[in-house]
């Protein structure tokens, strides 16, 4: 895209994303933000519980769907649920929480389809609702068809839905709708590339991890080995990318903007946790291949479906989802920072000038645009309040 085209898009985007000051719009976006955050907040435990379903092999603990042993999902006797077998407890609990998340998605749509909310946000919220319904249907198909492949797809789409929920919260969030992403200088293109690469790598890891986790007993050992090796390879790729990003946190522009720097710290911390959980997951699932030579480890006895083991294994999967969520947020924030502040190409050419040129053409000029691109000094203290 050429500079002028990008500039026009940027102008529209600012209007679209709520930079223009409008109290009614602030209120409307506040509602969207509330439901989007709630949605993301409850989707994470839903993913955790879904992971526990796989860990406990509880996918078929309830043989029917959408009901539970013939009952309406919400009317299944609570005593039988809480005091029954653990796999039944986990699976039915997963379903209950999923319907609650579905309700939150409906509320999100309700909040988005009100005046003063951008059209793209409205349709995005519908997409979120469709995704949660689709995810529920995938879960139902896994039960009705009794197919492990469906379980694997359902397990992959879950974190993707979480990424959608996070993206919604990001778009409706204060950071997005304020001048925080306006960092006063052009964003080097390599940072945009880095944010994309990290997101792509963690998403790929999700799929590869699902292949390892959902391997069927009748698969060939060579297939399992293949997926394990690929998963390890991408673990190395993700590690390299995140470490590289973290090492660059002291360089411009990350040094100047907390809004795009803290996700890098978060990613690095999550990576450490995830690597530890990954090693732990292998160890509590299959023991150490080197147990004999590593004194002490050979005393360890694996516990089938053990409490500690389940926490480690499910934690690894859930932390992967957190990585996806944070990578998504960073990718969006970096991209937006680049759009608002200009992108520094490798040759040192900045697109800031193109950005600035649209400023004058915006309705009301700089006085109506918060943190006008590239010129933070023109924004008055009163205007610098957060809009959304």
């Amino acid at each position: 895209m050429n500079r002028s085209g990008r500039g026009v898009d940027a102008k529209m985007d600012m209007v679209d994303s709520g930079l223009a000051s409008d109290p009614n719009r602030d209120v409307a976006m506040g509602r969207v933000r509330f439901w989007a955050r709630l949605l993301a907040f409850f989707t994470f435990p839903l993913i955790w519980l879904g992971g526990l379903v796989t860990t406990q092999d509880a996918g078929m603990a309830v043989p029917d769907w959408p009901g539970t042993f013939g009952y309406n999902l919400w009317l299944y006797p609570i005593s039988t649920w809480l005091l029954g077998p653990f796999d039944l407890f986990v699976e039915h609990g997963h379903r209950l929480l999923a319907t609650f998340v579905g309700l939150l998605a409906i509320c999100l749509v309700g909040s988005a389809w009100r005046p003063h909310v951008s059209r793209s946000m409205r349709w995005w919220s519908v997409g979120v609702l469709a995704a949660v319904i689709g995810q529920g249907i995938l879960g139902g198909l896994r039960v009705r068809l009794d197919e492990r492949v469906m379980a694997m797809i359902h397990g992959c789409t879950g974190p993707l839905f979480f990424a959608m929920a996070v993206a919604t919260a990001v778009w409706a969030g204060r950071t997005w709708n304020s001048s925080k992403l306006q960092i006063g200088q052009a964003v080097p293109g390599r940072w945009l590339w880095m944010s994309r690469a990290i997101l792509a790598a963690v998403l790929t890891q999700l799929v590869l991890g699902a292949q390892v986790r959902h391997i069927v007993p009748w698969a060939l050992p060579s297939q399992f080995t293949f997926w394990v090796h690929l998963h390890l390879t991408f673990a190395a790729v993700v590690t390299l990318l995140i470490v590289a990003a973290w090492l660059g946190r002291w360089s411009k522009p990350l040094r100047q903007s907390k809004a795009i720097r803290w996700p890098v710290d978060g990613l690095a911390a999550l990576l450490l946790l995830q690597l530890s959980l990954g090693v732990g997951t292998w160890f509590v699932s299959y023991a150490s291949p080197w147990a004999i030579s590593l004194g002490g480890l050979d005393r360890y006895v694996l516990q089938a479906k053990g409490y500690f083991e389940s926490w480690v294994i499910t934690g690894h999967q859930a932390t992967g989802s957190l990585l996806i969520g944070l990578s998504t947020a960073w990718w969006l924030w970096m991209g937006e920072a680049g759009r608002r502040s200009g992108i520094q190409s490798e040759e040192g050419v900045s697109t800031v000038a193109g950005r600035q040129s649209i400023r004058a053409s915006l309705p009301g000029g700089a006085s109506q645009v918060h943190g006008t691109i590239g010129i933070p000094s023109t924004v008055s203290a009163g205007e610098n309040r957060e809009l959304g």
């Binding site: 009748w218 080995t225 050979d298």
Partner: protein, 490 residues
Amino acid sequence: MIGCKVRARVWVVMACLEILPLFGGCNVRSPGSFSPSAVQIHQVSESREVSAEAMTARLESVMTDWFGTPDKPRWPTAQKLTDGGIDQASLLVSLVDPKQLERAAGPVRRLEDRVEYGLYRKHCAHCHGISGDGWGATAGNLSPYPRDFRRGTFKFKSTPVGSRPTRSDLMAVLKRGIPGTSMPSFASLSESKHFRDDYEPLIDYVIYLSVRGEVERRLIGAMSESGEEGWEAALPSDQKSTAPDSRPSVAREVAEVLRRWRQASQEVLEVPDNELADRSIEDLWSGPQRSQLLAAIERGEKLFGMPATACTSCHGQSGRGDGRVVDYDEWTKDWTIRAGVDPTDRSQWKRWSRLGVGKPVPDRPRDLHAGVYRGGASSQDLYRRIAGGIDGSPMPALPLKPANPQGWTSQDVWDLVHFVRWLPYSEQFPRETAAQSSPSGATAALALGDRLSIALLLGLPTGSQTIDDGRSIAGIESGSDRPALEKEIP
């Protein structure tokens, strides 16, 4: 608008990622049928110049007729045995409960009756495989490889080498797990009233897979002796003949395998009482029985070092598992050494690995200083490991009196047990006797060893090399061709 474009891109990426997992669903094997012993079939096929495909098809037909499928297992009936000319319905009594088989079989599910089914696939199949061939999806990455049930050989049990385990033995392994391996403990099942009854179906299913697999192996073995024609001719005879003849018969093979399982409970090795057995080394060391313990350790060390016991050939003089002999387990030898395949030559074994076997890995002797005992850590467990050997592994059984007049006494075994129990504490509780400072109590014990010359026991040549290598006992106990198989580390 940029916002719309970004969101559109997100949709595209997400849609692509949702499609990706579909590619992971492709598999070669099927959960609906048992995999035949492909390596064995192909080796027979090559040696007898018969079609492997024809053998496989015929075998599958017969095995399905007798044992059903993974989703619908079938346990041989008295009627079927009688039809095959075997009038021993008692063989089937209380060995396996067909109702329990149903619970363990098929995919994991909880039906409308709220009873959970598919327990084998839930707990075991990922490693042990749908067929119990020890070659499940994860097996290639595990060390040691998961057990192949089809040989009927189980390592940790109360019965001697060559015998089948009892149900209690299988239960003990399920509950205890095997430390340092991928075999988990299922003790947590007993903590919930909902899962407490899951053990019995699992044990039934393991016995079922083992019996099924062993019958299959025996039929393939019969094939290798009689050739396709003889085998083909023999199989249908089950349906019409009532008189056993010299040809292989499915019913006869089934009966023989069942008989060995039925016998197991009568073959349990008795463990005589020993006053030091039930107390820990720490307690004994600090208590009044210290002198007794020291004496037992000293005697045990001498026995350990004797060429006749052959302990040091694998476990090494120090007991750290650094002996000279490199050996393989029986499962590996079946398709390598006994089939003329050199397990150390990749070019030879590689071609078989695609048929469901892993890279041959030498069976490493235990480092006795680690204090980790896979078959159980109690004194009684150690007694059984020494007196009964570890089936399928190079660890032989020690010949005992009175069954073997020139064998060892139970006190000898107990002395070895106490020495082995003490080894992990040898630095914490160093002995103060003169014998301990000897670099080798073993050397001093050579004379003692003469009285129980392994050569006399086995009727083998009395060459010292034969004794030193510790091959004789193992060879006679397991009936294997061990002397020809072992290699020495340069």
